[in-house]
């Protein structure tokens, strides 16, 4: 053991630097925002309406993602399809795509003159600058996290269990509901929380596609961005709220993962 210890700094020093990179900026936000005005800013009309809109939209986003994403994740995990790896790549793409690309793409798709938007506008539906646009932008960037988690969850289920259920005469829906869902509930919950957290933080796609109007499309990240330009108190207070909420939620997902390992 003695021999190994002389080179441990090669590992420790770089790690300290990179942890500092993550930790210091977060610390700075807390240090700057510790002042008597914090609650005044955190409970200002602007902050509260942004907070409310953020929570509502990311919850709607997560619910829509679960409804539409679970069947897709099931198909990707258990059916043999020809172009499956291409579909998986497509779904993972938004995770690495810059949100500004997403916003631009959404605007030229669902915008008034867009690919689909021009048809929608004939029907009297106009998506940009509405709360629905916020949800669409959030789904575009955040749904992949849920689908990915659910797909891995479904894949992890023992194939023999499915065969046994098949022998018992269960149809595909019964198998899914009675066997797969209970067994993968943790993976699904984990994915849902990740999607919710990512949706809460969505900014780039939203500002391009949904615009900025208090109470309609101005979510927390948007209020922080505009607050950065004028009212740094509100920006800092909202940043603290976002950091705290994100930390708690990530903590919960980690706990779920840990419990999963033990069970």
């Amino acid at each position: 053991m003695k021999k190994l210890s002389d080179s441990k700094w090669i590992f420790i020093l770089p790690s300290v630097f990179i942890i500092g990179l993550f930790l210091l900026p977060l610390l700075a936000v807390f240090l700057r925002s510790i002042n008597p005005d914090f609650f005044y800013y955190a409970f200002s009309q602007k902050a509260l309406s942004a907070l409310k809109l953020s929570i509502v939209t990311s919850t709607v986003t997560t619910i829509c993602t679960i409804i539409l994403g679970t069947p897709l994740a099931y198909i990707l995990a258990s059916w043999n399809l020809k172009f499956k790896s291409w579909v998986e790549l497509l779904i993972d793409l938004p995770i690495v795509l810059p949100p500004s690309v997403a916003g631009l793409a959404l605007l030229i798709t669902f915008g008034r003159r867009g690919l689909l938007g021009s048809t929608l506008s004939i029907l009297g539906i106009s998506l940009p600058f509405t709360t629905a646009a916020v949800v669409i932008a959030q789904m575009f960037v955040a749904a992949p996290l849920y689908i990915r988690s659910a797909r891995i969850g479904f894949k992890g289920v023992d194939k023999q269990l499915e065969e046994a259920a098949n022998v018992e005469g269960a149809n595909r829906w019964q198998l899914f509901r009675e066997v797969l869902l209970p067994l993968t509930s943790r993976a699904l919950l984990n994915g849902a929380i990740l999607t919710w957290t990512r949706a809460l933080g969505e900014f780039g796609a939203t500002i391009l596609f949904a615009g900025n109007l208090e109470g309609v499309t101005q979510t927390m990240p948007m209020a922080i961005y505009l607050g950065f330009e004028t009212d740094r108190g509100v920006a800092l207070a909202l940043s603290v709220v976002l950091i705290v909420v994100s930390t708690i939620l990530l903590g919960i997902t980690r706990k779920i993962e840990k419990d999963n390992e033990h069970s």
Binding site: D6, S7, I10, L107, I108, G111, R112, R113, S126, P128, F129, I207, A210, G211, N212, L213, E214, T217, Y225, L226, F228, E229, T230, R232
Partner: protein, 282 residues
Amino acid sequence: MKRFSALISLLAFFLAGCNPAPPAPATVSDTETTATASAVPSTSASETRTLTVFAAASLTNAFTEIGERFQIDNPGVFITFSFAGSQALRTQIEEGAPADVFAPANNTEMNALVDTNLIARDMPQMFLTNKLVVVLPADNPASITSLEGLANAGIKIILAAEEVPVGKYTREVLKKMNSQFGSDFGQKVIANVVSNEDNVRQVLTKIQLGEADAGIVYTSDAVAAPELQTLDIPLELNIVATYPIAPLAESNQIELAQAFIAYVLSKDGQATLQKWGFAPPQ
């Protein structure tokens, strides 16, 4: 341990590779031919210097062109622009962003930096004026033919957010319009707003994309988008936005910064600004 030292020498090798090569001595003819009207006195023509200019989003086209000309006149000088809403730029400078020149769209942001001694009090100079204009998509989908049309129920308007200078001016102009078009005119227009964009270029782009029926931007922005229809706002209802420019007190390129500002104020610089729809300072 042997492996460790090998690692160190490898690292040293890479670090050495990163060092810039010593500058080649300039030939006499080089330095002579580069001396033009706007050239900066420099010790060597091959020495590269970078000037960082923080400028209001509305200056994007004009300053990009001015920058290109300035670089041609001053070999070895590179200008990096950061175009954004004036408030964002001011905040970035206050937080220590390394800018050499600051050109916001109004005096408020300039004065804020003067008050915190980031810019010397006698430095800011007015270098242009701008006013507002209504822009409509090329096909004018809401058939707006007069300023009164902005209050028509159900149309979609995009403005700059109140937080940025152009947004502030826009609301001033709407207030002035109340006197002519009825006391609730401004309110009706605001009720039609679907988005408050964080900078004026976003307003312009979204009108170009046809995502809204009308927007209010600077005349200079309308020049940058000739395909759009415009509705002039008469002088008595309009505002005159004056743009100041100044070097940052802590710039380590103060001489170059002064030269750039002198070029902006020169005949050439002003001609470029006018080409992009700005008016000379009054």
